[in-house]
Amino acid sequence: MYVVEIKNLCFAYEKDMVLENINLTVGEKDFLAIIGPNGGGKSTLLKLILGINTSKTGTVTVLGKTPTQSLTQIGYVPQNTNVNTDFPIKVIEVVMMGHVEGKRPLFGYGKHEVLCAMGALKQVGMADFAQTKIGSLSGGQRQRVMIARALCAHPQILILDEPTSSIDITGQREIYELLKVLNEHITVIVVSHDISVILEYANKAAHVNKTLSFHDISDKHSTFHTHGNDEHFCEIELLQMLGSENCDTCTSTGSATDDTSDTSTSSVNDTNLSVAEPVEAKIKWRLKP
């Protein structure tokens, strides 16, 4: 069973189409990266999966039910966790907001809720900061707290919207390492701009710009050209791979990068690979010779 299944989805806030004919399936324990330009509809797509937005055309199924019905199974980390930092609230209180409505005491918080929140904080390595005011944490620490809040409800899917947009490089890596560990048990969907970082961790990628192109990138070594260093992917390879309009010119852009980084520039193999899911454009990319 797919964790998330989107079929023939179209969405418009007012007149202009934001998303057109979207088809997407996310399997269990996938790590899906959603990338694309600003205003391309990434956040809108997340909101459709969360049931904040609803569309009349097409269907969104989450864990076999409608998004609203499955909401308690989804952990969500919103964008912009740096707003409202003056708010007088302790870390543990923020995390406990993640609890799903249910049995709760008349006054304050239940003991199991505190324990559960502490467990979530431990998972993200922030247990020592439980009584700290949220405003005095760094951006990366605050993001971890937000992830703990999402984990509080023991979700099956964790959805993050630009989780590292305001964090320094070290912090970003720590967040992704954390997501990698969490991914062993739950499905992770991340919207991000940091494509070079995210592709190391994701096994599926979706490029969203009104339409969606899906790519299975789980087997990185066979599908990517790297600069000798196994861990590195840069935006250029990515754009070659994902941007359908770049495909016609990918040979030329590709050799341009090769000049600077690779000694064997002469032979460039263009190979057509069939991608796991239907993509309108056939995507060409290079294999390392």
Binding site: L50, I52, L71, T72, Y76, P78, N84, D86, F87, P88, I89, K90, E93, V94, M96, M97, G98, H99, V100, E101, R104, L106, F107, G108, Y109, Q131, K133, R149, A153
Partner: protein
């Protein structure tokens, strides 16, 4: 000051000052953390329309102002829930229209029979027993709501979108905060008047915010600070024969200045 306490009106004034300050401290905290200060100012001024209507139709002032202010709060809630980015425009509009309605109805009332200044700047020495019951009742409601619905209010104030995803009725609590603000503003009109009420809702809160690390402690601390300012302000007002509302605000502002001078952020 002590000898003044034998007078009924002075006892009423003190009691009203304490009740209203506490309510203002608690609700002011919610207004500040929700960034609704301008909104509260709008409701305060709009309630003048209710005063005008009450004068014209011969209703109790408190009743007229309360109904009108709550109506304005519901209207603002309905308008701003959908279009939050246009909130300031709506508030400015309602602000002025409310005042205009009040002025027109007072004009239409035969004979000049009310002291308008007392509503604009407060008349704490004219608090009736009935007013005190109203104030105590409101404070009881506010205390009950913030104690038993604390976590919902906290969730909605901190991150309303997330609260909505976790099943909190954001619309209801947003409206509830606005309605309680409206009622608090109405009772505060007696003490500091509708023009000065905004300072009472924000100055103690600003100090308390710096000193507390949870919304709960912030609410009660600002309640206590507001009470202190009101009592000191009343003492000034009595000793030097000054307008009580203005004295309270000046005491608050001076204390805030002193606080900022002495308090260094860690």
């Amino acid at each position: 000051m002590i000898e003044a306490l034998q007078f009924d009106f002075m006892q009423h004034a003190l009691l009203a000052g304490i009740l209203v300050s506490f309510a203002a401290g608690i609700i002011g905290s919610l207004i500040v953390v929700n960034r609704m200060v301008f909104l509260a100012g709008g409701i305060a001024h709009t309630s003048y329309g209710g005063i005008g209507l009450a004068v014209y139709f011969g209703l109790p002032i408190f009743l007229g102002a309360s109904l009108f202010a709550v109506g304005a709060a519901l209207l603002i809630a309905a308008l701003t829930l959908k279009k939050r980015h246009r909130m300031d425009t709506f508030i400015g509009l309602i602000w002025a229209v409310g005042m205009a309605i009040g002025v027109i109805f007072v004009d239409l009332t035969p004979g000049y029979n009310v002291d308008l200044m007392s509503y604009l700047f407060g008349s704490i020495l004219a608090v009736s027993t009935q007013d005190l019951y109203f104030m105590a009742g409101l404070l009881a409601i506010i205390l009950a709501v913030v104690t038993f619905k604390y976590r919902d209010i906290l969730a909605v104030s901190y991150d309303s979108e997330y609260a909505g995803l976790r099943g909190v009725n954001v619309r209801f609590f947003y409206t509830l905060i606005l309605v309680l603000s409206a009622l608090t503003v109405v009772v505060a009109i007696k003490v500091v008047g509708l023009i000065l009420v905004i300072a009472m809702l924000t100055i103690p809160v600003y100090i308390a915010e710096k000193l507390s690390n949870s919304l709960f402690s912030m609410m009660f601390l600002s309640g206590a600070i507001a009470t202190l300012f009101t009592l000191v302000g009343l003492w000034f007002s009595y000793t030097y024969d000054l307008t009580s509302g203005a004295s309270i605000i000046i005491v608050s502002a001076a204390s805030l200045g002193l606080f900022l001078l002495l308090y260094r952020e860690k």
